[in-house]
């Protein structure tokens, strides 16, 4: 079983290199990192009208906010990459008939699903962690700022990518690859909007909106995981300010996700894997 799963996964890794998928995405990501390095350098060497450069404290505060915002942009890119990978490996292969020659081979359909999931999650995680780590290293090199828990933040971002990947792969078993990728991105956006709404509703004590947001965050846990990444990147001083402005700021997380929420997210992921296997087992090709 493991041998078949690894064989299927190996095709995904080989495709990513042969089709220059990862190098292309990596090059564009490195260009973005270069642009942010240039921007941070401009801030670090900024001279105000009186001729003074920005103070170290001011630079740290500004960079800590910018890092969270950059991480959010990166989170969107990770989700797009995940939707693309998921649609490419499952939906496209169903549509173009490549699976017709694979499914009749002596392997089970669930091994195909698990192999494709393993291959894609490995690719997405490698991309997220390597590019994210380079970005944080560049931030440190230019400004000297290191967020409190960078590794935890990267793991949460990988979790966000996994949510989009699982949704795309599951849907693409039943609907077209394009529709599945599009739906996964829309759900990612919906979860983020619900997260925004929750932040504002909690500042205004609107329980109805909070409950609606909670339901969305349970159905699509990407925003809950994103908040974990944001919290891991925020310095304690930023969280400690705590006032109404911080509570209503959609880019600031005042607490990490509860263990119960992380357990729910893990259960959600397992349920989606099982659903994908069940749907693919019943799919006529």
């Amino acid at each position: 079983m493991i041998g078949n799963i690894l064989l299927v996964a190996s095709l995904i890794w080989r495709e990513a290199t042969r089709r220059r998928l990862l190098p292309t995405v990596a090059i564009f990501s490195l260009v973005l990192i270069g642009a942010t390095a240039w921007g941070l350098n401009r801030i670090a060497t900024f001279h105000n009208p009186s001729g003074h450069t920005i103070s170290h404290y001011e630079l740290t505060v500004l960079t800590s906010v910018l890092v969270v915002m950059m991480a959010f942009m990166f989170c969107i890119i990770v989700s797009l990459v995940s939707a693309f990978l998921g649609a490419l490996s499952m939906g496209v292969e169903i549509e173009n008939g490549i699976l017709l020659a694979i499914v009749p081979r002596p392997l089970r359909r669930f091994e195909i699903v698990l192999g494709k999931l393993l291959g894609n999650i490995f690719l997405m995680a490698a991309y997220t962690i390597v590019i994210g780590a380079i970005e944080l290293a560049v931030v440190r090199g230019v400004t000297g700022y290191v967020p409190p828990h960078p590794v935890v933040a990267l793991l949460y971002l990988t979790g966000v990518g996994a949510v989009t990947l699982l949704i795309t792969m599951c849907l693409s078993v039943r609907v077209s690859a394009v529709a599945a990728g599009f739906a996964a991105i829309v759900l990612f956006g919906l979860a983020r909007i619900a997260g925004f709404a929750d932040t504002i509703a909690s500042a205004l004590n609107n329980t109805a909106v909070q409950q609606a947001s909670l339901i969305v965050s349970l159905v699509v846990p990407s925003d809950g995981l994103w908040r974990g990444a944001a919290f891991a990147l925020e310095p304690a001083a930023m969280v400690g300010l705590g006032g109404a402005v911080q509570r209503g700021n959609p880019f600031i997380a005042l607490a990490p996700p509860a263990y119960a929420y992380l357990a729910w997210s893990a259960a959600w992921a397992i349920a989606f894997v099982i659903a994908t296997i069940a749907l693919f087992a019943r799919r006529d090709l």
């Binding site: 078949n4 064989l7 080989r14 173009n96 017709l100 020659a101 499914v103 081979r105 090709l285």
Partner: protein, 273 residues
Amino acid sequence: MKRGEIFGFLGPNGAGKTTAVKMLLGLARPNSGDAAILGQPLNSLKARHITGYLPELFRYQEWLTAREVCRWHAALLRIDAAKRTSHIDDILQRVGLGERADERVGTFSKGMQQRLGLGVSLLGEPQLIVLDEPTSALDPVGRADVRALLPQLKAKGATIFLNSHLLAEVEAVCDRVAVIDRGSLIATGSLDELLGHLALRISFVELGESLRRNLSARGAAFDGGSTAIFGHIDESAVPALITDLVQNGAAIKAVQPIRRTLEERFLELLKEE
């Protein structure tokens, strides 16, 4: 199907041929009923292990080379790693891709991709080879190659299930055929059973009286000229008949077997339905 035969599977568009093939191979789920592949339960790993399949819609990873596609399928089939390379070389040679084995599938023409699909279906020397329209993208040379390859596979003990629209091709290579229409079997049997008895037309340079009597005694009719027609003759008796006539001094100009073509019989069957 019987072991070791080449079995033709015919039917008009929409009859359910490809659906039936897909159910046999686990690509589609039957609503009811059951089947077995060479005694193995449908969809069992054992059945999959002894079956090779060329889909009608053949598509392989265009970013791999032909050899890499074969290697990947060979790994799935657990073909002994020591024998894998020579086995793949041999198969690619047999399907005419020996020279292009290390080129990417994306650079292949449709016909070459179909040749690759045929090669992939032969990996591991399967006991059952299911070919769904195996020559649809091939040029006349490729079709002739496939026609020559199928009897070789049969001689090695493989059973071949051939789903094709090309009735002349089926007629040329198949031992038995089945015809389906709207999901139901409407005829099955050997070509002789399906096409009826053989008739024979023999043209002579000159048809003398003694030869005419000789032929009449054997049941021949005449067309008024110098041609005799046997309306019903056992195919195995033809060589002896011709030898006997020649030994008796007959100057034979031509011997022409007459039989309904599979296409004629196929159209008749559909009309009867």
